[in-house]
Structures are given as C-alpha cells and as structure tokens.
Amino acid sequence: MELIREAQAGSRAAFDALVRQYEHQVLRLALHLTGSEQDAEDIYQEAFLKAFRYIGNFRFECSFYTWIYRIVTNLCLDQLRRKKTRREDHAVYVDHSGAEVDVLASVPDGRSFSNPSRELDRKLLGQRIQTALGKLTPRERMVFELKHYQGLRLRTIGEMLNTTEETAKNTLFRATKKLRTQLAELRS
C-alpha cells in the first residue's frame, strides 16, 4: 500500500517497483489471449502507461491487482474485438520479428517425443482449441481465459470486467457450452 501511495505522490521508483510486481502476469495473460508476442508487448505498454497516468485515481476501493487487471482485460477485449472484425484466425503465434511460430513446438514438454503421430495429434488439437476459442465472443473468451487459464475467482473476474459474479458465471457457462459444441467431433 505504501508503494502505491508513493507512486501516487509521483515516485517513479515506486511505480517501477509496482510494474515489476505485475508485469509477468500481464504478459502471461496478454500472450495467451493474443497468441502474439508483439501484441502482448503492445498491451503491456498501453496498460502500464495508463496505470501511470491514472494511478492518482486509484482509491483503494478494490485491490490494486484488480485495478491493474481491469485495465489489462479492457485492452485485451479491445484487441479481441479488433481481431474479430478483421476475421483473423491464427492457429500459430507471431513472435516479435514477425515470424510465425507453431504454438505447440514452442511449448516445453517433459514427455518424450518418441511418438510422432501423437505429437502431430497434439499440435492439431492445440490448433483446434485456438480455433474454437476464436469463435467465442470477446467477453466469453475473456471470462474463459481468466477462469480456466488464469485461475481467477468468478467474483474477481466480475470486478475486473465491471460486472457481477452472476453475470461472469453465466458467461462462463455459455463459453463452455459453445466450446463443447465446437469440439464435439473430436470426441467421436
């Protein structure tokens, strides 16, 4: 709390310390959601610049974590909406140099790669999941991301999206229903 007050009073060192506390989570979320290192970096930049500009408005009525995440989720939602209108549907992610990188190839995996067909299945599966996720509305995608992948509580998700826990719960329910329909043929 002291760090926040110092940052509000104008201490750049205090603000930098706050950035360090939250930057990994911000990047993790933005990277998984957008699938692009460049997009994740842009969201990081916008989120923390906004936080710097508006930190004076933070009134301690929620946790700072929730406040920062609210900024990040709104930026991510804007990104998802922009992507949807451009009808982009990346099954791979794009690194900072612009090269496409296969999602699963970049994931460190403790299991042995002795079974190539299984490996191929996993890659295809990953792509199918991303495609299915891309068919959700931005809010459904966001709620599913925050709940399933980031492990946040529905109440916190509600606060971050400026809505109620009940609404977040219903959105999650809709998201899982849609995903199951999308992925149903994989089970047969």
Binding site: E41, G56, I129
Partner: protein, 321 residues
Amino acid sequence: MNCEMAHERIVTAAYGELPDEQAHELERHLGGCPDCRGEREQLRALKVLADAHPVTEPAANLVARSRLRLEEALDALPPKRWYERLGQRMMNNFASLQAAPVAACLLLVAGAGAGSLGGYELALNRAARPELTPAIASKTPQAGPAEIANISSIVRQPNSEIVEVRYNQVVPQQIRGSLDDPAIRQLLMLASENSASAGVRDDSVGLLAAECRAGHSCQAAGIRDALMVVLRYDKNAGVRAKALEGLEPYVAEDVRVRDAVLEALMNDGDPRIRTSAIGLLTPVEADTSVRQVLHTVANSDMNPQIRTVSRQVLRRVPEFQ
C-alpha cells in the same frame, strides 16, 4: 433440481466455485441422472482439451524488451505542470476527505508554525505600535497526502476470500492567518493540549502566552484557561514555563490564575517552575492564601534555594492582620 440447473452447476463445480450445500445437492442429482453424469464427463474432457493450448511463461527477452520500451516511454513523458500536480493533489485529497471521519485528529503542521511565527512578529510590532490596523486573516488551506491512523475492524466474509477492513485516515491540513483570527487561536489552544509533539505545544503555548502578555483579549477566547490547563498538566517543563509567563499579567486580577500559580508552586516537579511561580506572586504577596502557601513551601520544599526565596518574600512583606 432440474437438469438445466444441474448443467450450470456442473460448470461451476468443475471450477471449484460451487458452495458446499449446492455441491451436495448436485451429487444427489447426478446419482440419479445418467444424462447429467455424461454432461459432467464432457466438461471434464473439455478442460483437458483446453489445456492442449497451455499458458506459457513470457520469455525473458520479451519481459526485458517490454520493460525497456515502457521505461523509454515514461522518460519521454513531459513533467507535470504545477497546476496539473495541484489538480491531481486536490483530486486525491478530495477523496481522502470523504473517507476521513469527523473524529480524525487535527495535526498542526510546520506550515501553521511558520504562519504563526509570522503572526508572532506582527503581534510584537503591534504591541509597540498600536495605531497599526490589524492584518486581515487569510486562510490558505492546503493538504498533504492522507495517512492511515488506525485499523478499527477486520471482517472476513464467510466462505470467501473477501475481507472488509475499516480504517481511519488522518488528513494533514494547513492554515495561515493572523493571531487575532479566532480559527488560528482555536487551533493554537488545541495544540497546547493535544499535540503529541512538545515542540508544537511549546510553539503554541508561547504564542498564546505572548498574546496574553501583550493584553490581546486573553479571556474571551478562553486562552487563559488553556494556559492554566497546560500549566497543570503538560509533561514538558519548558511548555509549562511558557504558560506561566503568559499568565503573569492576570495573577493580581484573576483568583483562578492565582490559585493555578499557587498550585504550581506547591506541586510542580520542576524547581525552575516553582521559582518562577514565586516571582509571579509578587503583586499578591500580602494575600493570606499566598502567604500560607509560601509558609508551607519555606518549610517543606525539597529545593533549599526555593525554601530560601520563600522565606525572603515572607520577610519582605509584613503580614496583614
């Protein structure tokens, strides 16, 4: 429970957010409903499938790159102009004021001391040149960042991570004005009794005492009473000494002041205060109650010097019959 509700609760339960009593109800329903059991299996499968697109830790160079870019952007921001900083400060403190309870302590910060010192100089000048018109009081309220004074309660909501904390905030304020300004006088009197800092009490009592010695309407504002309270209760001898000085002009005319000084003579722990008290009683040496106290002090004071001085005073003034 119908199946539609069960389907929703299956999702909530799968993510660990179903309250225990509802989870129990759901289990009972699933026990008798194969369709819903199938639904639960499908959801579990979805969760496994979804993990085929796992969350990755951002690479170190992504973190470093992002941080560097942010640093450059922040360095490039123009520094806030004075009116922007003031506006920001006012916004911060407006919200703090809304949170500060009425019972929050009033702190007299250094600015008031500086303002009071200026007023003190003015008061001295006025005592020497009474034809000067009094200065117009000007209040320039400014405020510093709010601090938390204490936590009054912590309540955790059952079955949740939500905690409600009630706390009191102290909002430092500042005011400048003339010593004739009732608001300033009130603050000085408050400071004489309430300030945690002996230095602040010393300043406030010194100013009030100077007002009294200069004859600037010491009674109406209760300043005399404040000085008497300080003389009796303040833990700091220097502060008590100043209060005593301020009461000097009233020893002869005000019986309460005389009694307060007599009490100090008998009970104050500091010999310098007791010595000063003797000096203050000169105009009323012939008073019976004063002589009685002087007799007691002449015989029983721990300090030999004080005993001597008391005897000298008694010898100087013949007793009235």
